[in-house]
């Protein structure tokens, strides 16, 4: 039986773990594996191109309009997520247990993500996706908050990393299953190829749903999520004791806190500059990751299977190299680490841009363009992992110790809110340029996102960490 430790604060009496049960950690981490299947299959692989196909085939929309609609919906969804997260955080902090919230929200994810495959109706697909994805983001808020109640304070970092590692397994497990689905139900075509066969005795190459067209891949992916999430039902979580304030009061308190933090951050010049720079920087990073699969498939005109392999490659690269970004941040400082990560992103964006403009369709084999595309995947992994590492390191450098949690939470809020801007730029680029630029619009969109990244980095360059340190 694990020991308990009571920490008394002014408002509530919180009971946290003082002894880590690794079996309990395993059950908790299995949820990380399970929910990564959702984010990988639905968010990264399917939803964008599924919406493009539904929009074009069922609603007669053009590729650019369908893309703009999807980007608009994603932007609106990100705003909802950004503003609801502090509420979720507050509810989670005061809730007796977080597990029931995770379980309830998981049920919503499973239900609505499964429904995605049943109707090829643009409105329904977008509604189901928004519900599933908002539930997913909310569930993460509760899931992450469980960490302190299943691990001893000294093990929190280790246990968190354990969860992340399990998440990577989720990626590696789900992609082969989707490759099999593609083999059985066919390859989706969301954009007509540059050169396609026509014949009076053959059906023409046309837009097609492929494996997105049947409910099975959605059901299989969500079935995998369900199966791997079962151990989570048996996680033992310490319960918070003390009186729970009314929910409305909690929500008001959360927004008041957000407002106060914003006002306070403005007085910390270095932190304020960083938050603005980070807003642009992380937005660019989020957009590249969100559209990585369509960039490879519809921009570089490579195969569906290679698109999946590319994501696996970036994931493995992130696992291997993010650690070194952390080491670099420890040795050379957070600001220099941002330059390193920014350099990785810029290199990946340049390769993507040149690849789409000059090399598409990139052929798989021992040729220069293909090697460069592989390099792009290898660079993007640690660039993404490194972005979070640098954010944490920079906040730790700039924020007063007692404000670390508050400022870190605010930078997360800023990151979520910024995720709404990128898709809008992306969608607008397609709306304006797709007719003349065709698939090369992906290169143009990457260029704009790259510029945003450079501006973000230039603003971060103005931050003087030594001045912040002097102030505290």
């Amino acid at each position: 039986m694990s020991n308990e430790k009571k920490v008394t604060s002014l408002e509530t009496e919180v009971e946290v773990e003082s002894n880590t049960s690794w079996l309990n950690v395993f059950k908790w981490s299995m949820y990380d594996l399970a929910n990564t299947i959702y984010s990988m299959v639905i968010v990264s692989l399917i939803i964008n191109r599924y919406v493009l196909i539904v929009g074009q085939l069922e609603n007669g929309l053009s590729y650019d309009k369908a893309n703009a609609i999807f980007s608009g919906v994603v932007a609106a969804m990100q705003i909802i997520i950004a503003f609801s997260m502090p509420v979720m955080g507050a509810v989670s902090d005061s809730a007796g247990k977080r597990k029931p919230f995770v379980v309830g929200l998981t049920f919503a994810i499973l239900l609505f993500a499964s429904l995605l495959g049943f109707w090829h109706n643009l409105t329904l697909v977008l509604i189901f996706y928004v519900i599933a994805n908002v539930s997913y983001q909310w569930s993460l808020a509760y899931y992450d908050a469980m960490l302190a109640f299943i691990a001893a304070p000294k093990d929190v970092g280790k246990v968190g990393a354990f969860g992340v590692a399990f998440g990577y397994f989720g990626t590696l497990l789900s992609l082969p299953v989707m490759i099999i689905c593609e083999g059985i139900w066919g390859t989706p075509i969301s954009q007509l190829p540059k050169v396609a066969e026509i014949a009076s005795y053959k059906p023409p190459v046309q837009l097609q749903y492929g494996y997105y067209g049947v409910p099975w891949p959605f059901l299989i992916a969500m079935g995998m999520f369900l199966v791997f999430a079962i151990p989570f039902l048996f996680v033992k979580e310490r319960q918070k004791k003390g009186e729970k304030p009314p929910t409305m009061q909690l929500i008001k308190q959360a927004f008041r806190q957000l407002k106060t933090t914003f006002k306070e951050i403005k007085t910390h010049r270095e932190m304020f500059i960083f938050i603005i720079g980070y807003f642009l920087f992380v937005d660019a990073a989020n957009v590249i990751v969100a559209y990585m699969f369509p960039i490879v498939r519809d921009g570089l005109l490579m195969s569906e299977t290679f698109g999946m392999v590319f994501i696996v490659l970036s994931t493995i690269s992130a696992v291997i190299f993010t650690y070194f970004v952390g080491m670099f941040a420890d040795k050379k400082g957070a600001k220099n680490a941002f330059f390193l990560v920014g350099g990785l992103w810029i290199a990946a964006v340049i390769i993507g841009f040149v690849g789409i403009m000059l090399w598409s369709p990139v052929e798989i084999g021992a040729n220069f363009p293909f090697i460069m595309i592989i390099l792009m995947g290898v660079l993007a992994g640690p660039a993404l992992g490194g972005t979070w590492v640098c954010q944490r390191a920079m906040i730790a450098t700039l924020a007063p110790k007692e404000k670390f949690g508050e400022y870190f939470g605010f930078s997360k809020f800023s990151g979520k809110l910024s995720s709404a801007v990128g898709p809008l730029i992306w969608g607008a680029t397609f709306l304006i340029f797709y007719r003349t630029w065709n698939y090369k619009t992906y290169a143009l969109a990457l260029l704009f996102i790259g510029l945003m990244l450079i501006i973000g980095l230039a603003i971060i360059a103005l931050v003087k960490p030594e001045r912040a340190a002097r102030n505290y």
Binding site: L192, A196, I198, S200, A366, M372, T436, N438
Partner: protein, 174 residues
């Protein structure tokens, strides 16, 4: 051997090997041999990008006709082919031949249909008498701008790094 020099040699080797295909004068976009039944058409729908030169080569075992059509005229041709005569005009027309080779260039991005006809639709064209084996190859003619930019940038980068490393090494030895 110095570790940096080893890395440099390996990088040079990878770049040179991988750049070899880029040095080719043409990049094949499509290559297929098709057995066309009697009274049929076969071909390609291709996005022709502005200022690029495309090389088309068609070989057949019997005489055929070849038409290059834009989207609207292709739809009309297709209608005519399926028994609903609708007027169409081909941008290029080659009749009664078994070997065709030419370049396509456009001043703006367009969609073109390359239609090989083994049927009796085109007037004064080849007479379809049976199955025809046809080989169609469409390539992008690589003008210096395609491999040049990337190759020059990469090679200059490598030369610069090599130069800097050599200078540093010399300075250290001095």
């Amino acid at each position: 051997m110095n570790k940096k020099i080893k890395i440099l040699i390996i990088s040079w080797f990878i770049v040179l090997i991988s750049a070899l295909p880029a040095l080719a004068l043409e990049r094949e976009l499509f290559n297929n041999t098709e057995a066309m039944p009697q009274d049929s058409y076969y071909g390609l729908r291709a996005v022709i990008e502005k200022d690029n030169t495309y090389h088309l080569k068609v070989n057949s075992t019997q005489n055929i006709d070849l038409l290059i059509l834009d989207e609207e005229n292709f739809l009309n041709y297709n209608s005519t082919f399926h028994g609903n005569p609708t007027a169409y005009t081909a941008e290029h027309l080659y009749t009664n031949t078994s070997l065709i080779e030419f370049n396509i260039t456009q001043t703006e991005d367009v969609v073109r249909y390359i239609v090989i006809e083994n049927a009796n639709i085109t007037s004064n064209g080849a007479i379809s008498t049976g199955e025809v084996n046809v080989t169609i190859v469409l390539s992008l003619v690589l003008t210096s701008k395609v491999p040049g930019y990337t190759l020059i940038i990469t090679l200059s980068g490598l030369l610069l790094v090599s130069g800097l490393l050599t200078l540093r090494k010399k300075r250290k030895t001095l």
